[in-house]
């Protein structure tokens, strides 16, 4: 026989012999790194992923259908339960949509309180984002520190509205109650406490060599992909590049609402000169770092808000006291006139809440706000006939879009990298499924 048989010890034969079949691996819905109940079906060849198919809906609670059956004020508590890590920002998004439909103009104080609260919510949300991301990658301590800080924000929120997770504080026409006495000082104290701590997180995570190895150059998303899939918030901003002339896409800057245009802050986009050598634009590390820097910007906004709130509160109280003092000396007619003037002034400046609309004007409004996880949009369609209940409420979820990009950015990575990539998208399933 002419065919020569190679000796069995030849390594090339073994390599030809071992074939790995394609395999479908289920990850979730109870996997800890899927941040809730998300099922990822991974099509793998050995360790390498060729496709990721997310299956959602485990947390679907018919939020949009409920919206068709209740008035906007009644719907506010349901918005809390969408992104339950940033309930305040969800309240704000829905309130803004209804106010746009009703064309309400809010008093200055209500807007200032909203900005303070929304930015505090952003800090709390990003802290969880950071801590939980560490947890995904196997480091436990940042999570504990993040929750220690978040706890203080929750205490402050509890003072404001009595709830720790589902606030329903920001509501149609303003905020439910004014800030309690001394809250501003306690908030400022917290901010002073938090500021130096951020640097500690950078040493714990951002500049940690293990963390960089796990996140840098991983899950790279181009700007075009991000835009096509409707990614927003830190997920989009991590892929932009100021050197190429990209605008910092942050709705607080692009389409300012609630008076954000008057605050001094930066919308964060790369490049970051301090980025580690391994990090590539649009990778998991960049998305994480954008969030970290946004906490600092949020702190700046809160501080400015607190400085604005103090005089507004004092002036309002003074005007009210003045009126109370002299009202007994006025004739009925004068009193009526003065009271109307006072009320008008409160409506434009010193009040924390306007009376909510009794019914919705015919028409429809789509409003997006910059929630911590991206652009949260609400689309409210009112009935043409006079009615307090909208015909349709649509919640455009930022996480829903951010999650849809998973398959695109996970192709070709290893199974062990899935938590690192998916975690960097920082989604909350409550908002994805609604």
């Amino acid at each position: 026989m002419a065919t020569a048989t190679l000796p069995a010890s030849d390594p090339t034969i073994i390599e030809f012999d071992v074939r790995t079949d394609e395999m479908l691996v289920n990850m979730g819905p109870q996997h800890p790194s899927t941040h809730g109940v998300l099922r990822l079906v991974l099509r793998t060849d050995g360790e390498v992923i060729s496709e990721v198919i997310p299956h959602l809906g485990y947390l679907h609670r018919c939020a949009e259908k409920i919206g068709e059956n209740v008035t906007p004020i009644q719907y506010i508590p349901y918005t809390d339960r969408m992104d339950y890590l940033a309930g305040m920002n969800m309240n704000l998004a829905y309130s803004m949509a209804v106010e746009k439909l009703c064309q309400m103009k809010l008093p200055e104080k209500a807007q200032v309180v909203r900005v303070i609260i929304a930015e505090m919510g952003r800090i709390a949300s990003h802290l969880v984002g950071m801590g939980a991301y560490g947890l995904d990658l196997g480091t436990f301590s940042p999570f504990l520190y993040a929750f220690r800080e978040r706890e203080m924000i929750l205490d402050l929120f509890e003072e404001v509205c009595g709830a720790r997770l589902t606030y329903s504080y920001i509501t149609i026409g303003g905020v439910h109650d004014d800030l309690p006495d001394g809250w501003v000082d306690r908030c400022q104290k917290f901010i002073d406490y938090l500021k130096p701590r951020i640097e500690e997180y950078h040493t714990l995570l951002t500049r940690n060599q293990i963390f960089i190895k796990r996140t840098a150059n991983l899950g790279i998303m181009s700007k075009e992909t991000a835009l096509s899939y409707g990614c927003t918030g830190p997920v989009l901003r991590g892929s932009l590049d100021a050197r190429k002339g990209d605008v910092a896409w942050d709705l607080r800057k692009i389409e300012p609402y609630s008076g954000y245009e008057t605050y001094d802050f930066k919308a964060i986009i790369p490049p970051f000169p301090e980025a580690p050598r391994e990090a590539v634009l649009g990778d998991a590390w960049h998305r994480f770092y954008v969030r970290m820097l946004e906490v600092l910007e949020a702190i700046k906004i809160v501080e400015q808000g607190l400085r604005r709130y103090r005089p507004l509160r004092e002036e309002g109280d003074k005007l009210r006291a003045e009126f109370d003092r002299k009202q007994n000396m006025l004739s009925a007619e004068e009193k009526k006139k003065e009271e109307a003037a006072l009320n008008a002034e409160f409506k434009t400046k010193y009040s924390h809440r306007l009376a909510p609309p009794t019914h919705l004007p015919a028409g429809e409004a789509y409003m997006e706000t910059e929630a911590p996880r991206g652009q949260m949009g609400f689309y409210v369609v009112a009935r043409p006939a006079k009615d307090a209940v909208p015909l349709r409420v649509r919640a455009r979820s930022s996480c829903f879009c951010n999650l849809s990009v998973t398959n695109e950015i996970c192709k070709g990575c290893l199974i062990a990298d899935i938590p690192a990539i998916v975690g960097s998208l920082d989604f909350v399933m409550g908002e994805v499924d609604r």
């Binding site: 809906g57 949009e64 409707g230 692009i254 789509y366 949009g377 009935r383």
Partner: protein, 176 residues
């Protein structure tokens, strides 16, 4: 570009294919036929002056009054709308396009009305169209994988239709 400019640009390009418009709405919109939707979307995305590179949201609205006492004063004829919200990263403007559909194709209950899919233009459309199919009952022709996304695969009916009735039981679980 202001929304009036966008509308006139569309009218110039598509003339009588723009079936309706509302320039003074809070979010100005135009109406197109389902058959022309893809061409309009392509124009919106690729025209250098418009450049709508983000599709923010697709949704369906079911216009139907189920309360017999209110039907006369409802102010609309029963129909289904599919609403597309666009925005542009480059030009920072927004726009809305609507498609008006019958509630059921050829008025045969159970036959879903059809709209061409725009998933090949924007990645967002993939999941949003699946969601609209799932909840509002609109068939997007040409979609790569039009399956339910939020509800389970064997769910019956389209919950965001106004005449939807919650099932009595689902796999032995009592519904209502």
């Amino acid at each position: 570009m202001t929304s009036a400019d966008i509308i006139s640009a569309l009218e110039k390009q598509f003339s009588d294919k723009i079936k309706g418009k509302k320039a003074d709405a809070l979010d100005p919109w135009v109406v197109v036929e389902a058959g022309d939707l893809f061409a309009v979307c392509q124009f919106l995305k690729n025209d250098p002056a418009l450049r709508f590179d983000q599709l923010n949201c697709i949704t369906g609205v079911d216009y139907l009054e189920i309360d017999p006492k209110k039907v006369a004063k409802a102010g609309f004829e029963p129909h289904l709308e599919v609403v597309y919200h666009f925005s542009s990263f480059v030009h920072k403007h927004r726009f809305v396009v609507k498609v008006m559909l019958p509630r059921w194709k050829d008025d045969k209950a159970g036959e879903l009305p059809e709209v061409p899919s725009v998933a090949s233009l924007w990645g967002t459309a993939d999941w949003h169209e699946r969601e609209t199919y799932d909840l509002c009952g609109v068939r997007f022709t040409g979609h790569p994988d039009l399956t339910r996304i939020l509800l389970s695969e064997d769910w019956e009916g389209y919950p965001l239709r106004k005449d939807y009735e919650f099932p009595l039981e689902y796999h032995g679980i009592r519904g209502r």
